[in-house]
């Protein structure tokens, strides 16, 4: 047993939660420790089986792996296989009542991955040729040397100044470091409310996600390899997206008090209907969930020998939650191996990563407030639509609005970058021009299709 607040060969790390934050934590702890010549024992406590279809094996999320995370993982040597990536995304289509605009990636590459977090939706139809992202990451961590404890954690406590984990079968074991990666949707999250004196759980809102089976050919024909983003002036709806997967399309809605009527109103809107097969109607029964989504990060997500990573700590606002899990897990692992596992170590070396995400989220709130105004004002929607189309029609040149929208909706860049780029005089000048030109009775976009 080690009494110092440092990890050494033989140290025991318990990771609660086998989602991306937990798997990344175990993976990087073992990788960095191996590089530093330490032999750690890492146990991942995860009762769920991610190979089971439906809610039992799903971590409830839209299932988008951002461009920046795909690239970071590639640099780490983690190549996402085609059996996990259900569809490579190379563009997105922005749909508004004034028209639609396609925005392509700069190199026409499939740079975003659409995945299922679990094995697939409840009642999955057809051959299960894809595997879930969470199961894939967990297997990577196990291949690195982590051990899977397939038991539910019933309680956490302290034993001789070290955190201890008690499972449902009554087994209790102390560890040198406890990594908490329980997200915000599991019952395990409640174990930590008030457990350490300073930790305050994150604030959340509810979102709505559902899956519809359309079949691979229909998806290819109607949705292609594009993410479809909707800025519609529907009351209570803030943001909506259709994400094509292998045989399924994932519908993600963000807004206030999302109920059946709001979902139906979204699905019935002409902008959505044009993306789906004619006369298509949602089936009576389909896989759906209303997971919580962070709006404000946790306070003090660390203590002596304890660190909170992923959603139960600090994550990005609305987008790229898996990317934030990767960043916080890696920062925690680097701190634990090289600096130590005291609260002070985490405050000095792990917390700056969380703070940088929190600061960026504050700017993100401003970006989404502007997006809400665009959503509500038709003249602004028309100005944005005209500017994007003009940029996409033109070969080369700066695609300022396209890139601002791309990074806002895909989460591929920090909100700070998006905000600063939107303050560029050329961006503001062009937008002003397009807004004014859109209001004018004469048409300044002759030959452009679909102008209204």
């Amino acid at each position: 047993m080690l009494s110092s607040l440092e990890l050494d060969s033989g140290s025991h790390v318990a990771v609660i939660g086998g989602g991306p934050a937990g798997s990344f934590s175990a993976y990087f702890l073992l990788q960095i420790a191996q590089r530093a010549g330490l032999d750690l024992r890492v146990d991942i406590y995860e009762p769920r089986d991610f190979s089971v279809a439906g809610p039992k094996g799903c971590n409830m999320c839209g299932g988008i792996i951002s461009e920046s995370l795909v690239q970071n993982l590639a640099a780490e040597g983690i190549t996402l296989p085609a059996t996990v990536v259900q569809r490579g995304i190379d563009s997105y289509l922005l749909h508004m009542d004034v028209g639609s605009a396609r925005i392509e990636t700069p190199l026409q590459e499939m740079r975003i991955a659409a995945v299922h977090r679990g094995a697939g939706p409840r009642g999955i139809q057809g051959e299960m040729k894809y595997r879930g992202f969470d199961g894939y990451l967990l297997d990577l961590a196990l291949a690195k040397g982590a051990h899977l404890v397939r038991k539910k954690v019933e309680n956490v406590g302290w034993q001789d100044g070290r955190p201890s984990v008690k499972t449902q079968d009554g087994c209790q074991e102390a560890c040198d470091l406890l990594v908490v990666a329980v997200g915000v949707n599991s019952t395990a999250a409640k174990l930590f409310e008030g457990w350490t004196s300073a930790y305050r759980p994150p604030q959340t809102t509810k979102t709505y996600i559902c899956e519809f089976w359309l079949g691979e050919e229909t998806i290819r024909k109607h949705l292609g390899s594009s993410m479809h983003v909707f800025l519609l002036n529907i009351p209570r709806l803030e943001f909506a997206a259709l994400i094509p997967k292998g045989n399924y399309v994932t519908v993600c809605l963000l807004g206030r008090d999302i109920d059946k009527a709001l979902v139906q109103s979204f699905l019935d809107s002409p902008e959505v209907r044009q993306c789906l097969p004619p006369n298509w109607q949602p089936p009576d029964d389909f896989c759906r969930c209303s997971p919580r989504l962070n709006t404000h990060g946790a306070l003090h997500p660390f203590a002596d020998r304890v660190v909170f990573v992923g959603d139960c700590g600090v994550t990005r606002l609305y987008k790229d939650g898996i990317g934030a899990a990767y960043r916080t897990a890696k920062a925690a692992a680097v701190t634990a191996v090289f600096e130590g596992v005291s609260a002070e170590n985490f405050r000095r070396h792990f917390w700056p990563t969380c703070q940088s995400i929190c600061t960026d989220n504050r700017i993100g709130k401003l970006v989404f407030a502007v997006t809400r105004q665009i959503q509500r004002q038709r003249f602004l929607r028309r100005g944005v639509w005209r500017m994007v189309n003009r940029e996409q029609d033109k070969e080369g040149g700066h695609r300022r609005m396209s890139m601002v929208l791309w990074d806002t909706f895909t989460g591929s860049a920090p909100y700070r970058d998006v905000f600063l780029r939107s303050l560029h005089p050329s961006f503001l000048g062009h937008l002003l021009w397009e807004v004014v030109a859109g209001i004018q009775p004469f048409n300044t976009t002759r030959g452009r299709k679909g102008i209204q």
Partner: protein
């Protein structure tokens, strides 16, 4: 067609990077193989074949020199591009991202040392 493949597909024989040209990115192989060719005069020698998970073009990230070799698709190959500016920025935020590149570069230096040692050995035998 595979719907879940990432990156961009390059046809058999397509030149991805050309020796002597200025490079602004590195590539990670998502699927398939590429061959690394060293040109000397009119002839070219294949010095390596790289496969899934390997990367090339990384020297362009760290120096301002031109590409040191030509890389050509060997059969269909799928590549993911990491642009210099954005990737360097990420390395500045998280230096450990460069660890694997350094590891690979170190491995290549060892291989070159081995090849040099073998060549010097042959020369001594000839003397």
């Amino acid at each position: 067609m595979t719907t879940g493949a990432l990156g961009k597909l390059h046809a058999d024989g397509e030149v991805i990077v050309r020796q002597g040209e200025v490079g602004g990115c590195m590539y990670v192989i998502q699927g398939g193989q590429v061959e690394v060719l060293l040109r000397k005069g009119d002839s070219a020698v294949c010095v390596a074949v790289l496969g899934e998970g390997d990367f090339f073009g990384e020297m362009a990230l760290f120096d301002q020199e031109v590409r040191s070799a030509t890389v050509r698709a060997r059969g269909e190959v799928r590549l993911l591009t990491l642009e210099k500016k954005s990737f360097l920025r990420r390395i500045h935020e998280d230096p450990s991202l460069a660890f694997r590149i350094m590891e690979k570069m170190s491995h290549r230096i060892r291989e070159l040392n081995g090849a040099l040692k073998a060549a010097l050995g042959r020369r001594n035998v000839l003397r």
